[in-house]
Every structure is written in structure tokens, then in C-alpha cells.
Symmetry: C2
């Protein structure tokens, strides 16, 4: 059955859709049978990014899961669950399904997390973003406890273990990293390394802050579609960005180290 | 009655909470009677940023508005509306109330927008962020129509005009601007200038990408609290950041030009 790769982080703008699009396109370009589900249908960043894509390029089929408008919450949640599982079922013969989730707590967000084989969480190099992952002591920078998002992930991990005994391979990747070394960057790196052991995720190579990750949105292109053969010029930043995407995909495809 | 300053953008991570905190603290430090309402209580970036604050520093009283857990959507919406208006009423003698909203469509988000005297929308220099404000032609970069978020703002503007004849002063500010001039930055600037006339907002000076806007979060400090008198050293970036916050506050306090 397909390997489900969920891009999740309750923190808005951490880079879920950006990472999801580049991984989905990267897998398609590598000849994998991959589909994409957009669980943030209203904003639709993933759907709209891929909708603009030239038909001749390798492109994952993409389905948006609409939020239910039913007036009673329990009914709406159930309708969404059925739609999500139906969409997953449609791609039963695929190797991978990439799921992009909204930057807020919602029924669809939680359902996706519970179904993840691999959960990829991008995070900005920021104490503001970190605050959703863990509570940090202002003076010692020690981890004083988990926070909302890690608690939600743990709850979905439990739910998954109870339902089919499977584990969720949780990967955290830094996104929009500054290109200048500085105290903030080092502090965040140290905290994430400690957090990985404590919360149970592994760190994957992340993305630097690069305009190429966002300037091709309107054309439905990613930097992976560019290259000397396509007539686009390659800058050092493009080459670096390409390596970042490949390193992330390699990390996702690698089995997690034994616990 | 207090002037309500709402920080809104359905796009996650555009900088609402960051701008809200710096404007709220800036107004408090300028001696204004200002309170802050956090409508993103689950994530709580605004509340948690200000909660860490030293009591001796000028600090706006801050109230978080909880989301309703009532099982029927219409009842939950009504409970949230009552809680929001009660909180606004509590600060009836204040000069300003700053409202931070979630990066997603929700009842509280829409209620806040309808009550705004000034709506401040931060946006990243990104076609991905722009996509929620307007649909853009990939080749000509012409504006082909409004998008979800601008439609929501217009709907709340209509609602407000019908209820008390008031208008909403809508300000858009670029956030996390790169420090290198480049084609993407120029293109976005041109589109925003055209969009301002077409959609009916004015552009305010924005914030550059600066670590100082996020590295003081754990200590509850903002760059406005630093200075030679406080013993902290001031870098060029701090001075520039300080000017950016003051320019934004000046723009917010300025009456919009007659339409
Ligand atoms: N590595 C990067 N370099 C440059 N810009 C980036 C990078 N990653 C993301 N961005 C930009 O940052 C913003 C947020 O990214 P994105 O929309 O992917 O985040 P998200 O987590 O999906 O947000 P949401 O919570 O709204 O779904 C967008 O404007 C995007 O173009
Ligand atoms: N001007 C800036 N310079 C550097 N970092 C910034 C700047 N503005 C925001 N950030 C960082 O970008 C991230 C998103 O900012 P913020 O949380 O304020 O956005 P938001 O719109 O409130 O997000 P959400 O939709 O989740 O509520 C945070 O990690 C924040 O610290
Ligand atoms: Mg997204
Ligand atoms: Mg926020």
C-alpha cells in the first residue's frame, strides 16, 4: 500500500506547502507513482501550485479534500474522515501519497497525522515556532515540557499504534534558514538536537531562505524542473536548493534508525 | 471608544502576531492606554509573548478569547461572539485595543475583521502569500481578480457599513523583506502598488527580515525595550528595526487619505 508522507505543523507559514510541493514533484520526477492530497482546500496552496503546471512535466495527480459544512461538528468530522479515506483509497496502487495539512488545529489535520507513515514537520529558526513544539526555559534554554503540537503528534501516534500497530516516522526539518551564522541559529540548532531525543523525532537536512523556493509558484514550476537542458540558467542558489530538496527526499525515503 | 487595530491575514506565518506584539508594546511605551486581545488562543503567540514580560515594563493587559467547544456550529459561533464583545467592552475606556487573529478562516477571525477600525495585514514578499489576496496572471503579472482573503475583508467591510456606517482603514505591510534587491522583490512591490488602488488598501512601511524580531520572544522583550539606557548594545539592525516599528505605528495612527 502507498507510503503516506504528511506535511504537518500547527504553526502557520512554517513551510509545509512549500516542502510538500517540492517533495511531491521530486518523487514524480524520479519516476515514482505519487499522488498529492491537499487538506487545506480553502487556501489551496498545494493544489494551486500544481494546477499551474505544464502537462508535459511529471506531475502528481492532486485531490483537494473539502471541509464539511454540516452544522453539527460530529457529523462534519465524520464526513471529512470518509472523504479523506476515500481519496486515499483511490490511490491505493500508488507508491507514495503526499498530504499537505493546514497551519491550524482541525479535524482533517488530526486525521492526516494519524494516517502518516512519515510525518515531516518544517519549522522556522524561531523561538515563536519552537513554542508550539516545546516549552523552553528563557534563561537556561532547557526543555521544560512538550507543547501543543508535539502533544497532538503523540496522541495520533498512540491512536495509530492502537489501530494497526504501526509507528510514525517523525522528521523535523529547519526551513527558511538564514545564511549568516549567529547566536540565535546556534541556540535553535542545539535545542532541536536535544528535543529530537526527548520528543522522538529525527532531524533532516532543511532548506535555506531562498527566493527560488517561491518565485516560480505562478508558473507551477519548481527549481527541480529547471536545468541547463531546459534553457533556464542555474545559479549557485539553484544548485544549493536542488541539493536541499534531494537531501530531504533521501531522508524521507530512508528508514528511520532502530529505536 | 477605543480604536480597534486588528492584525489579520488568512495566510499562516505572514507576521500577524509579530506585528501585533510590536505595535501593542510600542503604543504602551508611548504612554497610550492599550489592551491586547488574542483571538488565536490555542497557539497563543501574542499571549505567551507578553506573558513572559517583566512587570516593570509598559505592558498592555492581554486577554485570550477561547474557541467555543459547543457541538453545534451556530451555538459555538454565538458564544464566541459574546465572549469577544464582552472582552472589547471590558476595555471600553482604553484608547486602543490590538487584536491578533489566527492564520485561518474562522468565526473569530471574521468577527474581528468586522469590528476593525484599522486592519493591518502583513504579507511575505511571496506569490504564495499574494495568492490569498489576488489572482495574478503568470505571464503579465496583471491582477485577474480578488482572492479569498480580500473577498472576506470586503464582506466584513460591507457588514460594518451596514451596521454602523463606519469604514475599515485597511493597511497592508510587507514583512520579512529580503535585504537584497532582486527581480522578485520588485515584481511584488509593483503588484502590491497596483493592488492597493484596486482592492482599496494603503501600503505602510513594512519590516525587513531581522532576527531581532523573534529572538527576544522567550524573554517577553521587544527591540523597543532595548536601548543604551537598558544596558543592551544596539546594532545597526536594532536601530533599523526600531525605525520600522515606529514607521508602522505612525502609519496606523495616521488617518487614511480621503477616498
Ligand atoms: N525555504 C524557503 N525559502 C524562501 N521562502 C520560503 C521558503 N519556505 C517557505 N517560503 C515562503 O514562506 C511562506 C510560507 O510558506 P508555506 O506557505 O509553504 O508555509 P505553510 O506552512 O504551508 O503555511 P500555512 O500554515 O499557511 O499552510 C510562503 O510565502 C512561502 O513562499
Ligand atoms: N520581520 C521579521 N523578521 C524575522 N522573523 C520574523 C519577522 N516576522 C515574523 N517573523 C517570524 O516568522 C514566523 C511567523 O511570524 P508570526 O508568528 O508573527 O506570523 P503569524 O501571521 O502570526 O502566524 P500564524 O498564522 O501562525 O498566526 C515566526 O517564526 C516569527 O518569529
Ligand atoms: Mg500551507
Ligand atoms: Mg499568529
Amino acid at each position: 500500500r502507498p507510503r503516506l508522507i504528511v506535511f504537518g505543523n500547527e504553526k502557520g507559514g512554517s513551510g509545509k506547502s512549500t516542502a510538500a510541493v517540492h517533495v511531491a514533484v521530486g518523487l514524480a520526477r524520479a519516476g515514482k507513482r505519487v499522488a498529492a492530497l491537499d487538506l487545506d482546500a480553502r487556501q489551496g496552496s498545494l493544489s494551486r501550485y500544481l494546477a499551474g503546471r505544464d502537462q508535459s512535466l511529471p506531475t502528481p495527480p492532486t485531490v483537494a479534500i473539502q471541509r464539511s459544512a454540516l452544522p453539527v461538528v460530529a457529523d462534519a468530522d465524520e464526513e471529512e474522515r470518509r472523504q479523506l479515506d476515500a481519496a486515499i483509497g483511490r490511490f491505493g496502487s500508488y507508491e507514495f501519497i503526499v498530504l499537505d495539512t493546514p497551519g491550524s488545529d482541525s479535524n482533517l489535520t488530526r486525521l492526516a497525522h494519524a494516517r502518516a507513515d512519515v510525518l515531516v514537520t518544517p519549522i522556522n529558526d524561531s523561538f515563536v515556532d519552537l513554542d508550539l513544539l516545546a516549552r523552553i526555559d528563557p534563561d537556561t534554554h532547557n526543555i521544560t515540557g512538550p507543547s501543543l503540537y508535539s502533544e497532538m503528534v503523540w496522541e495520533q501516534r498512540k491512536r495509530r499504534a492502537l489501530s494497526d500497530g504501526q509507528t510514525i516516522d517523525w522528521i523535523v526539518m529547519r526551513n527558511r534558514m538564514g545564511h549568516v551564522e549567529g547566536r540565535n541559529k546556534r541556540v535553535i540548532a542545539d535545542i532541536l538536537a536535544a528535543l529530537a531525543k526527548r520528543i522522538g523525532f529525527r532531524l533532516a537536512p532543511g532548506f535555506g531562505e531562498r527566493v527560488i523556493f517561491r518565485e516560480l509558484f505562478l508558473k507551477g514550476l519548481t527549481l527541480l524542473d529547471l536545468g541547463s537542458d531546459t534553457g533556464h540558467s542555474m545559479t549557485l542558489s539553484h544548485v544549493a536548493a536542488r541539493q536541499e530538496v534531494r537531501a530531504l527526499i533521501d531522508a524521507i525515503l530512508a528508514a528511520p534508525p532502530p529505536r
